[in-house]
Symmetry: C2
Subunit: 343 residues, 2 copies
DNA sequence: TTGTATGCGTTATCAC
DNA sequence: GTGATAACGCATACAA
């Protein structure tokens, strides 16, 4: 069993308090004693017991990041960013996967296990409009990538509507008129799927067009597999399309795969665009036009908000929370999949 | 802020011990008292403080999974599998990224923070042959995907040599003779890169061929970007190739992208194969021939070994550790990128 | 500058 | 069955 502070204290012939002072870099420790303590620590190979420290401090130094699926490149990249931002503030990140299932997301909020961490960054997929109150638990929470959940909780969102509108406008400007929409969203979810769809429809409306319902390809999931399946169904239905907009990049990439299988050329026959700008979008064949949200900014801001929320604690002067959402920057990235001149 | 066991005990007019018995589902609690306690818990909204429990139990119920990069699809998928396997055994997984940097991997082993978890599943990239002893810290550790690190530590490996040999044999059987090798490894690393290269070379030798050094395309990293860059350099060098073997799938996908840019057809002009069978390999254009290691098996076995190691503790009867490595199953998956007849 | 004593919220060892 | 009470290892008023 490893040494404790008491062991070190005995060895260095000081009190535990002094050892604590040394390991915590407190000032006011005579150099000589410090040396003695450090020597004892080295000799005994002492390592701090963080559980004990956490109990004493009433905090763990960990935050939870709850995302739908780690296997989705977007969330892996996001997790990486969040871990970086958290580390910069001295936090360790515990990743939980919700599968985008509403009940899992709710459980996570009510869970006892959440108490192993000081706060939660939640990327909700399943939560519905009425679920707002569930979030107000007094436990520090920051919402990611969603809005209109009307909860008094801090949230960092991306420009889902504007980004999707930009994509649609780009496709329209390129002369595309029969744009298929790959992906769907649970009714009432008000999530990214809903918002991106809205942006897409707004652009059509603004152009004086109407979206043909037959051009919608619902996908149960936001994965390559689902994108491919949805596109297969769409093409099988016999409708004509000259463009496809995937509600995220993997849906779009899955769609491109099917277009290839069907012998349709991208972008000549069908232009394709996605949303997220995952790394794979730059290396696909053809490379994928998409919307790049500023992930680093989102991560930094979310962690920053959460840290702030944790810092104020549940003290009595509980400051108002859930101000206007922070909206991260985005950029439309045009690549080969929608380039005017083919490749 | 939130209620403690003492609060609940007072409220239910019992002792803390009884409350503890109830929440831990201990037998020998009179139904009536149990009801009273549960009622008090509900009324006060009591939630267990896990930090305190952990301190008392001397364990945290968490294990660390240390991988190079979460953004690499292979590791994201692996993490997902490990989380699943860990959950099945009641463990929560804390993911750490090493960036494949040797010092980071070493730090992780010596780190104090590691003590927040009960054990470590480490996927080493940077560790070298002589680093074995560093792993024998008395802290439960299971190595992933490596071998020949000659440490007395449990390890779960994949059939790197055999898998790579199978790929090479497949390419040779298809008549390819000038096979470029995309990716490299740090000298002395004895890692997956080294082993896969060895398997590749073995196949050539067995076929009575020699590997032309000019056909090696070193990559600093195992990423799409690095795979593309390496392939560009290789092609720029002017050597002729009729196949490319990426030491992992993303290297191969990056290579395919460059072949496309250079107007080379896959597989007609150049066949391509990778290693890992990440999900993207099924949806790329063309789909990628690769080796599929049984990730679920690897994850289950690693977690199982670690749980065992944790269970025996550092008691005196420390059983021997680091038996023969468990070698996971694998399968060669032939897809369009190396299909004999083009698409 | 350093030591003493007490608390953090659980679990575990006993008695009762 | 249930209740005091001592750990668990560290932090921190308060003293010295």
């Amino acid at each position: 069993m490893s040494a404790t502070m008491r062991d070190v204290a005995r060895r260095a012939d000081v009190s535990v308090k002094t050892v604590s002072n040394v390991v915590n870099d407190f000032p006011h420790v005579r150099p000589a004693t410090r040396e003695r303590v450090l020597a004892a620590i080295a000799e005994l190979g002492y390592q701090m017991n963080f559980t004990a420290r956490n109990l004493s401090l009433g905090r763990t130094g960990m935050i939870t990041l709850a995302i739908p699926k780690l296997r989705l490149p977007y969330f892996a990249e996001l997790a990486d960013e969040v871990m970086g931002a958290a580390e910069a503030r001295g936090y360790t990140v515990l990743i939980e996967q919700t599968g985008g299932v509403r009940q899992r997301e709710i459980d996570l909020l009510a869970s006892e296990r959440r108490r192993m961490t000081d706060g939660l960054v939640l990327s909700p997929i399943g939560l519905r409009a009425g679920d707002g109150p569930r979030l107000e638990t007094g436990y520090p929470v920051v919402l990611l990538g969603e809005r209109s959940l009307d909860a008094r909780v801090d949230h960092v969102v991306m420009a889902n509507v504007a980004g999707a509108r930009a994509v649609a406008e780009h496709l329209l400007a390129a002369g595309r008129r029969r744009i298929g929409l790959v992906g769907s969203y649970e009714a009432g979810s008000e999530g990214a799927g809903y918002l991106r769809t809205r942006g897409f429809l707004e652009a059509l409306t603004a152009a004086g067009l109407e979206h043909d319902p037959a051009l919608t390809a619902p996908a149960e999931d936001w994965t390559l597999e689902a994108g491919a399946a949805a596109t297969r169904r769409l093409l099988d239905s016999g409708v004509q399309v000259d463009a496809l907009f995937g509600l995220n990049d993997v849906l779009a990439l899955g769609a491109m795969r099917v277009l290839f299988e069907r012998g349709l050329r991208v972008p000549d026959d069908v232009a394709v665009a996605g949303f997220d700008d995952i790394e794979e979008a730059r290396f696909s064949r053809p490379s994928l036009t998409t919307v790049r949200p500023d992930r680093a900014q989102i991560a930094r801001h979310a962690v920053s908000l959460l840290a702030e929320r944790i810092a104020v604690g549940s003290g009595d002067g509980v400051p108002p929370v859930g101000g206007p959402a922070f909206v991260a920057d985005y950029a439309l990235v045009v690549r080969e999949s929608s380039a005017p001149a083919g490749r």
